[in-house]
């Protein structure tokens, strides 16, 4: 087995499991760029764990040689967080889809984010439920016709970027599956970031989403302005809200530093004078009448 010290090529990170995605699925682009980012940072396959929920995108871990967990629908973040809290030495990277993250999993995001949990979260956003064959997703547009919305979707979509910014994420970026270089850079940045880093990757589903297609994004993509101050929350929010104008901003929106969950838990253990060899009799003695 290769360890972190021997540099590996991107293809060396590929597992022997062939991706189960449809030809043309945006997730291939994400996979390739992420593998490049791994190679770039000579990530150790042994010290890296890819955690995912359920969905087409959540099959990601199988295709990579690292450790991994393919968990339950919507639970990727709390599983990843539990792992990171107890094993801060590991690189823990979370993967999932728009439904996994912002529909059934939407209750976990605010908390994992506000704690500034030391995780990278890569969401493959195709504005549809891929694995269950084409239902409306939380990022689907109003009026979109899907198998469960034959008369058009009644709901305004969520804005994953704005949500994470408001929750207090310290690294927020959006990328586009086909722009491989940028995906790679933003993912690298996320992995290097201290604290919770969110990368929303627009990753079209040619099989079930006939609205948000590779073609349609050609028009809506919009680079984050070069002069954007990535420490300005308000400015970042404004960019995130470009989605309302039908635009798809890509690039790094926000990056700041604040204490992370691992740091804060470490402080608590220090306050408690945490000691691996602590004598439990000291606890027991507190309960002598």
């Amino acid at each position: 087995m290769t360890t972190a010290t021997e540099p590996m090529k991107s293809k060396d990170y590929k597992s022997t499991v062939p991706p189960t995605w449809c030809p043309g699925c945006g997730d291939f682009g994400v996979l390739n760029a992420v593998l490049k980012a791994f190679a770039d940072k000579t990530m150790s396959i042994d010290d890296t764990v890819l955690v995912s929920g359920i969905g087409c995108s959540s099959r990601f871990p199988y295709f990579v040689k690292t450790y991994g967990m393919h968990t339950a629908h919507g639970r990727v973040l709390p599983v990843a967080a539990g792992l990171k809290m107890s094993r801060p030495d590991l690189n823990v990277i979370a993967f999932g889809g728009d439904g996994d993250g912002f529909s059934i999993g939407g209750g976990h995001v605010p908390h994992v984010v506000r704690k500034n949990t030391d995780l990278t979260y890569i969401l493959m956003d195709n504005s549809i439920y891929g694995l269950t064959k084409g239902q409306v997703s939380p990022t689907s547009q109003v009026g979109m016709v899907t198998t469960t919305t034959p008369y058009g979707a009644p709901d305004n979509p969520v804005n994953p970027l704005a949500f994470c910014l408001t929750y207090g994420a310290t690294y927020v970026a959006q990328a586009y599956s086909s722009k491989s270089k940028q995906v790679q850079e933003l993912v690298t940045g996320a992995m290097e970031h201290k604290g919770f880093a969110f990368v929303n990757i627009i990753s079209p589903c040619p099989t079930f989403n006939k609205i948000n297609t590779f073609d349609s994004y050609k028009e809506s993509l919009e680079e984050v302005p070069a002069d954007h101050d990535t420490s300005d929350l308000n400015a970042a929010l404004k960019i995130a809200l470009r989605a309302k104008e039908g635009k798809t901003p890509i690039g790094l929106l926000y990056k700041v530093e604040r204490p992370t969950l691992v740091e804060r838990l470490t402080e608590i253990r220090q306050k408690a004078k945490g000691d691996d060899n602590f004598d439990l009799n000291k606890v027991i003695d507190q309960y002598i009448p």
Binding site: Y67, A72, P78, V79, M85, F278, N281, P289
Partner: protein
Amino acid sequence: MTKANDLIIRIGGEGGEGIISSGDMITQAAARSGLEVLTFKTFPAEIRGGYAMYQIRFSHEVILSEGSGFNVLCCFNKEALDNNRSQIEKGSVLIYDFPGGDIAEEQNIEGVHCYPVPMSKIAKEELSTYRSKNMVAMGAISELFSIGAIPLRELIQEKFGKKGQEVVEINFKALDAGAKHAREHLKKTDPFQMDEGKPQKDVMIISGNEAIGLGALLAGVKYFSAYPITPATEVAIFLSKHLPKVNGNLVQAEDEIASLANVIGASYGGVKSMTATSGPGLSLMQELIGMSSMMEVPVVIADVQRGGPSTGLPTKHEQSDLFLAALGSHGDASKVVLSPEGVEDCIYLTTEAFNIAEQYQVPVLILSDGSLGFRTSSIKKPDPSKIKRIERLKYEPGANGDKPYERYELTESGISAMSHPGQPGGNYISTGLEHAPSSAPRYSPENRVSMTDKRFGKLDTLEDFVQATEVDDMDGAQVGVIAWGSTIGTAREAVKLARAEGVKVAAIYPKLVWPLPLKALNAFAKKYPKTLVPEVNKQGQLASLLRMKTDMKPISYNIYSGMPFTPKMILEKIKEVSK
């Protein structure tokens, strides 16, 4: 005057009136003076208002249960008196707030020793602080029954010292005023008086919930995540204080689903992990319990049961989550359920739970209950150096030679070595999908069958591994009692009483309640074909599982009023079915 060897005092009043804190203090005082103690509390589901009760049993011998009824009833208000009036037996003592409280009349109950103590009045008029009412009562009680007068003063000093000597003095005064009232104005006509015991070393006094936390520490827990819920929150409160001391981490998660998800992630990482909840939380955890079963990730889940279903009776006693614990989660999910009988068990069954989880790579549930969770009792201090800690079978890099590592290797025992991230060559994807030995998804019929058989078959040796079933044989017994959880202590006492009356009765106490310890149970049923199963739920949940898995046709004795059994209730039933 005969001295009582076994005394039960019940204190009743309004929630928030200091009943709990004063009860705790007299309990501790008694334990200091060498008595065995066991407490029983009920609260209203509301923060304010409603009837709260604190009952203490004192004895010179090991106490098995809350007991049947009480010898002394101390009423802080009218509601307490109303609630308990029908239960006051001849020969017992009634202490009540009079005159000056909301009990309007002097009480004269035939055959009952009635002692009016103007607690509110003394507190308000003599001490000008209504909040000292409970201390006045404690003073009277301590005086009347010779319970821990000296330790009570010590405890007041220790507890209130931090708040300033002034507060200490107020409490001393209240205590003295109560004692003085008892000495000067009451004529003791009852026979109850506790000798001091021999002060014991090696005794601790702790609640069932705290004991679960302590058990977890002793087992080597390093990660705990939970969401608050009555009556389980104290497990988290205990561990939030102590877990960081052993360099462990604790978080309060956003809900129970997140808690268990956290715990699964941590355990996958190689760290002993646990959560604690009550019924509603256990319902929410069902999907992830199945996932940990499928992933074969060791996790420990304490469920401190309360009255269900739904919000139900959140502060009342019930043993009704057994079905959910044993048979919940969609699909066929293998798991283990233990149930402690008392506070000491809460420690050792929790360490056992971790050992089983590690040994069998399976979710292990501990079913405690609200009365046990809140019960404090004097128990023998555990010796941390004597606790057996079992670790999961861990993958050894290179041990397999050139053969690639298989996380779910099919082995004879059904147990496969688990690698932890960081280990070279151990890489795998843990998954809730059906999987091949390698851990890759695989849906073929043959693989499906062998993996299902693996997950269930590995538990075949569990009964011998855990040895958590106790048999109390008796030649010629007409009836065999089968009790679980905190009903065990009550049943033990009932069996003792029955035998004292010459009734022949045997008993078995399974603390492993799923999968059932069939060898022991079948052997028991063979000897005692007529079995009696007392349990606090509507459906007869253990009895149902026994019918399901053995040929027994147990007689169910189900109560579901929100209260535990008393030994007398079970005694009467034993006598009835022995006929």
